[in-house]
């Protein structure tokens, strides 16, 4: 599958390279998500999302943000808040993918408009499976405004 028209299909915000690699592995294993942009902190994520250089179309091409909560510089919940505060990204699906099982994190994430909250399993097979299914669902099955024409 070519990615000519959709350079920014999925944005992965993850500071841990191992997790990032395993996540990307899992997504790729589905053969569905090829176009993954990986940023390592919140500031970088926002720079990508809100850069004037980004064409509105390109943003529209973005189908999912996978957001870790523990991030250097700007943390995940703050990134989420700013995504929802910005008109262009207000409706962008954001799935929190984190190790935190803290109730408070869950509550705040949903309060801020997270579309889903996934706790990373320690067991890697379960992790890979969860991420793959997540990718399939959000990339293929989920519909966002403007997609159905």
């Amino acid at each position: 599958m070519t990615e000519i028209n959709s350079p920014l299909q999925l944005l992965l915000v993850e500071d841990n390279p191992a997790d990032a690699e395993l996540t990307i592995d899992a997504l790729r294993s589905t053969k569905l998500v090829n176009n993954v942009t990986w940023v390592r902190d919140g500031a970088e994520a926002l720079a990508v999302l809100h850069s004037d250089l980004q064409e509105p179309d390109q943003v529209r091409q973005l189908k999912l943000v996978l957001l870790d909560l523990r991030l250097p510089r700007l943390d995940g919940l703050e990134v989420l808040r700013r995504i929802r505060a910005e008109e262009r990204t207000r409706q962008l699906p954001v799935v929190v993918l984190t190790s935190s099982r803290e109730e408070s994190d869950l509550v705040r994430a949903y309060d801020l408009g997270a579309n889903s909250y996934l706790v990373k399993p320690v067991e890697s097979e379960a992790f890979m499976k969860a991420v793959a299914e997540l990718g399939l669902y959000w990339m293929l099955l989920n519909k966002v405004p403007g997609e159905i024409r």
């Binding site: 191992a18 997790d19 523990r70 190790s99 935190s100 320690v122 067991e123 890697s124 992790f127 890979m128």
Partner: protein, 735 residues
Amino acid sequence: MQHTQRANPRAPGSDTGTTAARARPFSNPLLPLAAAGSFAIGSLGLNWQQNQATLSLARILIRSQATVTALVAVEAEVLRGTLQASLLRQGRSSTASSLGFSTALTDRPLAELEQLSADNPTERIQVARLRSQLAAHRRSRTGFSDRPMQATLAPLLAQLRQMNGAERQQLAQRTVTLERLQRRLRLLEATSGLAILVLLGIAAWLLLREREVIAATQGALVLSEERFHYLFENTSVGIAITRLGPGGAGPALQVNGALADLLGTSRADLEEQGLPAFLQAEGPPAKGPQPEAEARTALLEGTLPALRQTRAYRQASGDTVWVDETSFVRTEASTQTKELFSLLVNITQLKSEEHSLLEKVAYTRSLIETSLDPMATISTQGKIEDVNEATVQATGLPRTLLVGRDFAEFFTEPERAKASYQKVFTEGVVRDYPLTLRHLSGTLMPVLYNASTYRDVRGQVIGVFAAARDVTQIRRMEEQLRSLNAGLEQKVQDRTTELSLANQELESFAYSISHDLRAPLRAIDGFSLKLVRGYGDQLDQEGRRLLQVVRDNALRMGQLIDDLLRFSRLGRRALECTPVEMEVLARGVAADLLDLEGDRRIDVSWGALPPAQGDPALLREVWLNLLANAIKFTRQRPVAHITVGGAVEGDEVRYWVQDDGAGFDMAYADKLFGVFQRLHRQDEFEGSGVGLALVQRILHRHGGHIEGEGHPDRGATFRFSLPLTVPPESAAPPP
């Protein structure tokens, strides 16, 4: 009969003048007698005088009568002689003799007349004239005279008749006078007789009356004596009468029964031995003046009229009798002998009561004196009336300087002190009234005054009793406590801040664990998997087994982290207590767990589980861990037997879970509830060692507890209890 001597024992001689003060009808009974007497004597004297007058008048009368008689005789003779002479002259008679003029016949009456008129010159003259006329007449008659007989006779007769007439007139006058005198005399006699009669009457009356008075006096004396005897014998006062000789008191003259009873002896004994023999032997004489002994000596010597003493006597039985003894000395008026009267009243009972009363008073006083609190009584005017030793110590002033002074003077704020006791008078009491007492040296003592009014026996408020409590120490301690409290408060605040900081740190620490520690584990597992998948064909069996060990341990570590976080999270969670249907809860948990066990044969028998109070989510954790353990440790039994039960016991409810599984050694029972403490090897029974620690923590937070009992290979029983009402958690949730 009046007894004037009774009340004052110091006035002796009670029987002198008992009859002196008698009421009499007259102040002097002789007065009427004298009056009557003098009247009678006067009457008699007058009578005698009248008598004498009468007698002399009678004598005069008799003389007058005789004079008249003599005159008549003279006249008769004269007339007869004249007649004879005439006859002779006429010759009728010739008898010479008859002519003889009998001088004898006229001389005798004439002599009488002269005798009768001897004391009357007028009459004597008359008689002398008569004699001369008579003589002249006689001569004429005889013829010797030249004068005729008729001539001499006529003047003679005239003279005679004049004298006779005068005499008769006198006689008549005197007779009248005599009669008058006689009448007066009779009257006087009658008056005298009457006076004498009156006199006799008065004398008789007086005599009778005197007799009556004597009889009455004698009767009163007898009655008085009887009364005295009755009194003497019946009085409860012991009486002894003793003669005082030159050597002091002798044997008793007379004692009464009361005295004998009082001394527990017989009268005879007492009269023989004398009262002093029964005196209690006195101790060694006290030094210094002995006023009592001196007074007694003075009494016995007669220089002191009476004496009253409290003395101790010894009864025949040896017991001591205390008496109030009144002694006085009476001097017998007639003989001048002295008698000692002793009146003894038994006051042993009073003495003993007095003694116990004194002891009580001394006891009470000693309590007041030994009190460490300054105490004082204050008059209604605010003056100190009495103080105890503590007050003397607190003020530094002796009692003599304290008593009489104004209570308020001794405080730093006299006005407030005054207000304090005035408040007591109006309200009856003050409690813990703070004042500051000033010592003579200037030292101040903070005190709390407690005071109330006190009353006399009639209930009249007569003052205030005030007791101060020295609160110097208390004030100092309060100050210390205050600063300590302030410090403590600060410390608590600091600790609370620290705690809250620590909690925050812990929070972020737990967050870090949950987030950051899992990532490497996931990496280890993930990359091991990647290695197996990517390069599995280049590894031999052992190589793949080793990689599997790496992955197992990574997973186990993940489990440990999860359990630890759960332990921390549930432990910190705020309790939300509600009534909990324990049976529903436990059965639900058991059903979930049994579902996971597939075809294992597990026999669970249920007893009734009473409802409890608690946080349902946390109590669920309790059942989950206990039941999971029971299922886990019975894994090797072909048929597992698990018993679940509960009961209310007192103010708590107990539950138990019993199994017939692997059990444990009671030697390690103390490790059952420690975090990460395990009694079984990991290859026997997996687990993190957090479950029971979590259970215990939850139960402790509910105010409950848990205990375990087990035997190796014979099963285990866990009993836990919850209070029927969960106490509110006072502190912040523990970390």
